[in-house]
């Protein structure tokens, strides 16, 4: 049941939010204006983030922590400020629980290795059928190393998780539950707080993959009640090469470090070493200080606009897109029908035009979408299609981006109907 749609426009639908602060959106593809509908793959960056990045390299560039001088201290402060800002932004109780990584994928691999020593052969890890490969393959590798069983919460035909199965899936041997907050294919927003709550009652650790929700949905680590939360900066209007693992410091204490090297140690002998405190223990080597220095500018923007306003805007764009795609007819649209129950993206299958052909033709219209399995091959097998076309939205997306998408699909259908 569609609740909102063309009729429930919020004001921002026509203009996007803060769109003029994103320089790349002014570019063209051939002679067409760009319509960027691939924010779920990576978001565009506001001017303020680029300025902060340039400022760092022009004025503060130095390595962190090891320095006893003004420059290194400014760089260290910029780096640690990012940690504090992220903690405050996502509602983490303590900045010492925020590990700075190179992205969500690295955060999840850090976890899958870090928990290994706590698990025994036969233990179970519960995932879902809608996971991105980043929240699947690291656990498969762990399962193989350690002789574990993977279990999966099924996806219902309406795109929601079948949580009725949860009691039977949360078994005696279940040690970890890891699930996506907002699916990068279905859009489904999962009830992560509920899952975390039911897991905690049984002493099971919960991991939330917030790669698609950070910067898009209001996020509150403490309220979710999970043990670990991961996301990438680059999908939340920040720079590439930066991500986070958020936890309580005590939870981090339980993890073994994955990478060894400088900065993560305390005492090093030739034969053995001891680790530094958390979170430094997980940050071997020179971090991406420049990216960390720049990301707070993205958080500033998100907080300036307000997470609820961004959410309302993306829901309005999604409702409009769902309506328009529905009107085209003949498409299979995946995920919840209600835009309130989903993040800012729509994936679909057009039996008349293969997703690859569609995305090539859309490119001629200046419309950037993604076609493929979106790093979720098992989910696509569940859906029964080799690939889908995905349009995904950000705070800057506006009605004419969707209109151009629809026009492009019409054109593609014309081409293939000739």
């Amino acid at each position: 049941m569609r609740q909102s749609g063309r009729s429930t426009d919020v004001d921002s639908l026509a203009t996007g939010l803060a769109r003029d602060r994103f320089p790349l959106l002014a570019r063209t593809i051939g002679d067409r204006p760009l319509h960027y509908l691939d924010t779920a793959a990576t978001s565009q960056k506001p001017e303020a983030v680029l300025a902060a990045l340039a400022h760092f390299y022009r004025h503060q560039n130095a390595n962190v922590h090891r320095g006893l001088n003004t420059l290194a201290e400014e760089a260290t402060e910029a780096y640690e400020r990012c940690r504090r800002r992220v903690a405050g932004w996502v509602g983490a109780p303590d900045a010492a629980g925020v590990v700075i990584t190179r992205g969500a994928t690295s955060s999840l691999n850090l976890l899958a290795h870090g928990l290994e020593h706590l698990l025994l052969p036969g233990d179970e890890i519960l995932l879902t059928e809608m996971e991105h490969h980043a929240n699947l393959v690291p656990w498969q590798m762990l399962a193989r190393r350690r002789g574990l069983q993977l279990r999966f919460i099924p996806v219902r035909d309406d795109g929601e998780l079948d949580l009725d199965r949860l009691p039977e899936l949360l078994g005696e041997r279940t040690r970890v539950v890891s699930l996506v907050h907002a699916s990068n294919v279905l859009g489904t927003v999962n009830p992560v707080a509920e899952v975390a709550d039911r897991s905690r009652q049984r002493g099971i650790l919960t991991v939330v993959d917030a790669a698609q929700s950070a910067g898009h949905l209001p996020l509150d680590f403490a309220a979710v009640g999970a043990d670990f939360l991961v996301f990438s900066a680059h999908k939340a209007y920040g720079p590439m090469g930066l991500g986070f693992l958020v936890a309580r410091p005590e939870a981090l204490e339980r993890l073994e470090p994955l990478e060894g090297g400088g900065e993560m140690i305390e005492w090093v002998d030739l034969e053995s070493s001891t680790w530094a405190e958390v979170p430094r223990r997980f940050e071997a080597g020179t971090p991406n200080v420049a990216a960390a220095a720049a990301f707070p500018a993205a958080i500033d923007l998100i907080e300036e606009l307000g997470a609820p306003a961004i959410r309302r805007h993306e829901a309005a764009v999604t409702a409009y897109a769902l309506d328009c795609l529905q009107d085209l007819g003949g498409l299979t649209i995946y995920g919840p029908a209600d835009s309130e129950r989903r993040g800012g993206l729509v994936s679909f299958w057009d039996p008349l035009v293969h997703p690859h052909d569609l995305s090539t033709i859309l490119d001629r219209h200046g419309v950037v979408v993604r076609a493929g399995h979106h790093c979720a091959q098992p989910l696509h097998r569940r859906l029964g299609v080799p690939a889908t076309t995905r349009a995904s939205f950000g705070l800057y997306t506006r009605r004419d981006d969707i209109d151009a998408l629809i026009e492009g699909i019409r054109d593609a259908r014309k081409v293939f109907a000739r």
């Binding site: 051939g30 067409r32 052909d357 219209h365 076609a371 493929g372 091959q377 014309k414 081409v415």
Partner: protein, 162 residues
């Protein structure tokens, strides 16, 4: 809503092959069956090849995928049946070179395949166009090595450019 840009890639010849793919039926009798997959998009092709001595007598092209891969497979069926294995391999190698943007003597005639060269801009789509041809080279290799089947998964970034 304005008219979409005239599309240089989806020319009539491509679409015609896509809509009416040549050789798109299983063979009753064949010597080698080779299949290829492109995991990045799910394109799949299975080739059945019947040889008559050194010549390709018949090809069955069973494609599942986008218009580029199905039409490329269809064009292949038209181009190679009746040719010697040597000649077919040459066409495949030339097409690979052209699609990879390498210099190829102008006199090389690729027939309808020329219509597919517009995808060179997108390496992922180049894979689509090449899938049937690389699978054909696999079939030829299998034949030479006396095997009856072959299987291959294509990689998107680093393909066999040699």
């Amino acid at each position: 809503m304005t008219e979409g840009p005239q599309d240089a890639l989806y020319r009539e010849v491509v679409l015609d092959h896509h809509r009416h793919p040549r050789g798109a039926r299983p063979l009753e009798r064949f010597d080698v069956q080779a299949s290829g997959k492109n995991p990045s998009c799910g394109d799949e092709v299975t080739l059945q090849v019947a040889f008559d001595g050194d010549r390709i007598a018949a090809v069955g092209v069973l494609s599942q995928g986008c218009a580029i891969s199905t039409s490329s497979g269809s064009m292949m069926a038209e181009l190679v049946v009746g040719r010697t294995v040597e000649e077919a391999a040459q066409v495949a190698e030339r097409f690979k070179k052209v699609m990879h943007g390498d210099d190829v003597p102008a006199e090389v005639d690729l027939g309808d395949l020329e219509a597919l060269t517009g995808v060179r801009k997108f390496p992922v789509r180049v894979k689509c166009a090449l899938l049937p041809w690389i699978t054909l080279l696999d079939a030829i290799l299998a034949r030479r090595q006396g095997r009856a089947a072959s299987d291959r998964v294509m990689d998107v970034t680093f393909e066999e450019r040699s």
